[in-house]
Symmetry: C2
Subunit: 694 residues, 2 copies
């Protein structure tokens, strides 16, 4: 299979010192023989298909079916967006937790869409055929985008399945992924936030841990739970130390195949400035949250997201700033380039690729500020601006033929896109004002207060004054109004006197301009160059290897094992009882406060039950909620984090100390049973279906 062949080429770059158990493998290219050799177990095609069809993409993260009746389980922190949108000052499900003992009590979520990967098809030849030699990067980008939209639309029209073309190896391969899509998703169970995220930002990305980071949903179609043919049965005992485990999930993004010059840019620019933007958001959000309990509730989701990213980026920056990683990347790159230089054919075809990457990255550096501030909207950070711009663009783009549109407005994606745009989830003016004030200040700081766009955006006010004016005046929070505007098309947008629509119109031209420059002068040259680098690697080395993560379904594997840290042995697993000790150490103060339900049932809880555990399975952000599966295909746990040492895995895998962290099924079942009295849910999980529950 073509992908495996080409994939193999990239091994050289990613081969770190600790190769054991490395890799996030597309489900159609799992290295079965290597696993067999290393662990004495080879997953069969049926085993793989069953796991694939049991796995669920949940927003930007992961989940899996847990019964034949559409029961889905994921992390609490993955479900938290949905849970928070169902909450209000009067009904705060984040604080109280939630359990629907009967189907009637299940709460329909606002705008969730779950996907199950059904099929993968290699469309590399078709996409590349659209790009003729001699085309300028601008023409090539346009031709490629057009081909991708056309392939997706054809597939969608033919199969009715959500169809996405995925770029692998940064441009070497193009695969078409077809998904079954579910949009009626209902909340079944969530523990209290305090125990789901026990330890808060302090313990986040750290280990040992004590988190019940789980939540349960149910998928409906036609107002009835679906019959989920494939689901993961839960192991009664979970996993033991040293056991082989698999992780099936949707890792979002790794950068292990990038050139050294590209990584330097990631280190010196995107990470550093990304952190600065996160820190300013964190400070602004926390000062807002501290004003009242209701403020804190409203800002909690944003704060979690920002702190989570900040801690992850800090770890990655430290890995990139340490001397080892980039030196090793450079050394390997020099060896490969020397080999290419010795081969006449390869030299002609590929030798220029590294300089091409460096050139594209230099162009990126020139565009970077404008791209972040305008197109990524860092200068207009609030929900209402995002909505307004989306409405402006929706009108412009849907008036064009499908293959000429911006990617996000292509026909095959339009339903999903509109589901978000027209969501009735609450938007809080006070919270968004604080975010926008900070964004507008960033705009003025970056371009200078005397820049024409800045002056027009601020309209004679200071950033906080202008933010207050815009948010006070806009009606973008009204979902029905949004629908009316969208239905009215370009004409309605042109006539709108909503100040946020006016701002979005003002920003759209320069924003599209920088996006186009990025697409033509950065994205397309990178795709072409990385395709060449992959070819060179394939020619010179030649073993199987996995592509960088792209948010698509992957299988990782490893063993449950502890590690050594500063002379201490860190155990592979913690016990339920430990959470009470840690809570007591911190005098039950946030973020180590337990909800009342836990101490109340402490005597009844089996304190020796396994709570959280670590393994060497290769994961990254997006894997949250991935089922951890044993040889028998049973679920033994659920990924919810990596430790600090795994943050460098974005660039290089290393299992000496790096670990993925999971909630153990023992703890989940014990808590559901003993703390929450969730008998029906436990029965459904144990029996594998609701109807047949004993």
């Amino acid at each position: 299979m073509r992908m495996r062949r080409c994939a193999a080429a990239v091994l050289f770059l990613v081969a770190a010192s600790a190769l054991a158990d490395e890799g996030m493998w597309p489900l159609d290219s799992v290295p079965v023989k290597a696993i067999q050799k290393q662990h004495g177990f080879a997953p069969t095609a049926e085993w793989l298909k069953h796991v694939q069809l049991s796995a669920v993409r949940f927003g930007g993260a992961s989940a899996s079916f847990a019964s034949a009746d559409g029961l889905v389980f994921t992390n609490h922190h993955v479900g938290r967006g949905a849970i928070q949108k169902l909450s209000s000052a009067q009904r705060d499900l984040m604080k109280t937790g939630f359990y629907a003992a009967t189907r009637e009590q299940e709460l329909r979520c606002h705008d969730l869409e779950l996907n199950v990967l059904v099929e993968i098809e290699d469309v590399t030849d078709r996409i590349n055929a659209a790009v003729k030699s001699g085309m300028s990067p601008a023409e090539a980008f346009e031709a490629r985008r057009s081909a991708m939209s056309t392939v997706e639309k054809e597939s969608h029209d033919r199969t009715g399945l959500r169809s996405d073309v995925v770029t692998l190896y940064h441009g070497a391969l193009y695969h078409l992924y077809r998904y079954k899509k579910y949009t009626d998703v209902r909340l079944v169970f969530a523990p209290e936030h305090e125990v789901a995220f026990f330890g808060g930002d302090v313990d986040n990305f750290e280990y040992p841990r004590y988190c019940l980071d789980v939540s349960f949903f149910r998928v409906y179609e036609n107002d009835k739970p679906i019959k989920s043919e494939h689901y993961l049965r839960w192991s009664r005992s979970g996993c033991q130390e040293g056991e082989l485990v698999f992780v099936a999930g949707h890792p979002g993004r790794t950068e292990r195949l990038l050139t050294a010059a590209h990584l330097e840019f990631i280190r010196d620019r995107t990470t550093v400035e990304g952190l600065n933007r996160l820190r300013r958001k964190e400070v602004a959000l926390r000062t807002f949250a501290e004003r009242s309990k209701e403020n804190a509730r409203r800002a909690a989701g944003d704060i979690f997201g920002v702190q989570n990213s900040r801690k992850a980026l800090l770890g990655r920056l430290a890995a990139l700033q340490g001397p080892g990683l980039l030196a090793e990347k450079r050394r390997r790159e020099e060896t490969l380039r020397a080999a290419v230089a010795k081969d006449a054919r390869l030299r002609g075809e590929c030798a220029s690729a590294w300089d091409a990457v460096a050139g594209a990255v230099r162009e990126w550096a020139r565009l970077y500020d404008e791209l972040e501030i305008l197109e990524h909207a860092a200068g207009f950070n609030c929900r209402q601006f995002g909505i307004a711009r989306d409405l402006v663009r929706l009108a412009d783009e849907t008036a064009k033929p499908n293959d000429r549109r911006l990617r996000e407005y292509r026909e095959s994606n339009l339903d999903s896109h509109k589901r978000h745009l027209f969501s009735e989830a609450p938007i809080y003016k006070d919270l968004e004002t604080v975010k926008l004030a900070d964004g507008l200040s960033l705009l003025a700081e970056t371009f200078g207060a005397d820049h024409e766009l800045v002056r027009r955006a601020l309209a004679g006010k200071s950033p906080p004054q202008r933010a207050a004016e815009l948010i006070h005046g806009t009606k973008m929070e009204d979902a029905a109004g949004r629908r009316r505007l969208a239905d009215g098309g370009k004409d309605a947008i042109a006539k709108s006197d909503d100040p946020m629509i006016a701002l979005a119109r003002l920003v759209d031209e320069p924003s599209r301009a920088v996006r186009t420059r990025y697409e033509e002068q950065v994205d397309e040259p990178l795709r072409q160059a990385y395709a060449k680098i992959a070819r060179a690697q394939f020619a010179i080395h030649g073993t199987d290897v996995y592509p960088d993560a792209t948010g698509t379904l992957r299988l990782a594997y490893g063993t449950t094992q502890g590690y050594q840290e500063q002379g201490r042995a860190i155990p592979h697993c913690t016990e339920l009882g430990g959470v009470f000790d840690r809570c007591a150490e911190h005098e039950n103060q946030w973020p180590f406060r337990l909800p009342d339900s836990w101490p109340a049932r402490r005597d009844k809880l089996r304190s020796a039950a396994a709570f959280n555990f670590v393994s060497t399975a290769d994961i990254t952000g997006g894997n949250s909620g991935s089922p951890v599966v044993n040889r028998k295909g049973e679920c033994v746990g659920i990924i919810f984090d990596g430790n600090l040492q795994a943050l460098g895995w974005s660039y290089q895998f290393d299992s000496r100390q790096g670990r993925s962290v999971s909630v153990h099924v023992q703890a989940i079942l014990e808590a559901l049973r003993t703390v929450y009295g969730a008998k029906a849910l436990v029965k459904e999980i144990v029996a594998g279906s609701r109807q047949s529950a004993p």
Copy 2:
């Protein structure tokens, strides 16, 4: 008097729309006639002398004598450094508060130095005479520094008083300030931090307020309380609405006389990057603090400082980014320059000054990163680095003649300098590691991870690893060891194998180099140019005006009055009882939690007593702790803050909404009496001395 004449010149620049009550006046040039005209009261020379000698400089802030027995009172947040240094995990005076009912119980502070301004002498001619025409900026800077050190040393040798040459109007005048210095200062009373800083960062710089932001100290000499001839008697009733009040304190820094180009640099560079540095510190410190109660205690002082500065800078940035302020500055500047251009003599003498400022600021922009990272040590942010560098420089500098040394090592200042260096106040390795890790990352981010100095500073580690290694290895926390190193001179420094000393030695050469460039190419040209601008203003306009704040004693005046905000009338004063309501609104949660002492005595408290009040007196940071004085020279309150609208006062005074915020004497006396049972202290304040207390 020369200064008054010249000072007058600058009025034009600072004359905002709301001139009433504007100004922070040096004590030798208070505009008595203007006050008389406006308020019907003229302070006499005796009145002014009494207030001057009752006022105390307390660290970088303000205080005043409150009895004939050396009793000094200031804000709790001004005394907090001293209070925190006297605290430990076992004895947390920030949490519990403190009261010494007898003199024996008073606690000696670690490294406090209080100053009382005794005399002011104009030394402009002598300083300027040292700078000969035709000197290069480097020569001029050196000559000026040498003259200042010599003047100071002569004065110190002759009078025994601390003697500082102060630059006024950014270079137009030089005054010698002589201070009586006190170094044995003992803690008498501090309330609990929770009520001193009630409302925390949320209410900081906001109003209405409810803070008992006061603390009391006593000054000793020869192990006995001093006899303080001048002290402020406290008014029994405090002040009423609309009353004329004076504020005597030490405003740190305003920038009202700067040119537009200079202000643009402040807006676009120093404020923006200062905020980014503050935010990263805030995030790092808070994540440290959240790990445990003891961590929170250790980091509290740093967190307060960082949050306070962050909120102040955010307000100032908004003021600068708003369209009005800079447009007005530019308009006035153009008018003045046009007038200069019309006068042949002035044109020759002064016309080039604005371009000279702009040129110096451009050079500053080029040096800015290096200056902040190296000389201001943002790249090495921890106490131990500061100490190590100080030891390295102390050895180098004291080996030179006095008039060739860096300013901070001049003979007249050396005792004060060493008091800080050899302080036995606790230093926490864990806290400093977190700060240094962030600093080293900033170093790598700013110069690039491949920069030679960065590579040598990191020594093959990532920033967090290197920070841990340096702090683990250094012995800079040991005050006795510091003394031994200092006594050993250059030889001991050269032989030291302390890793922080080694780092300080590594950084010292490039750091001195950028400081020298700044002094010669920015500081000196700015002094010369601003002297010319002041001359032009004097020639063309010609009324009395005050110099920008410089941390020296100033008198401000205004009236107690409320204001309008978003259609609401904000009262001039709050009542004691209000604090219980605000606490209840927030369910007694930090930062609105009251210490147990308050609810316990609620029934006994006179809830209608005035708590905090606002006035139009012109203040800025450094005025914290300033006594608020009535016509009779009695203390009616103590400044502890400005409101948000007063943050723009750094650049332009405006009393439409801007207010200074004070604690009212009624609240202080009521709380001391009723909540704290501090009978002896109340008696001493009321009687004006301890011995004669009834």
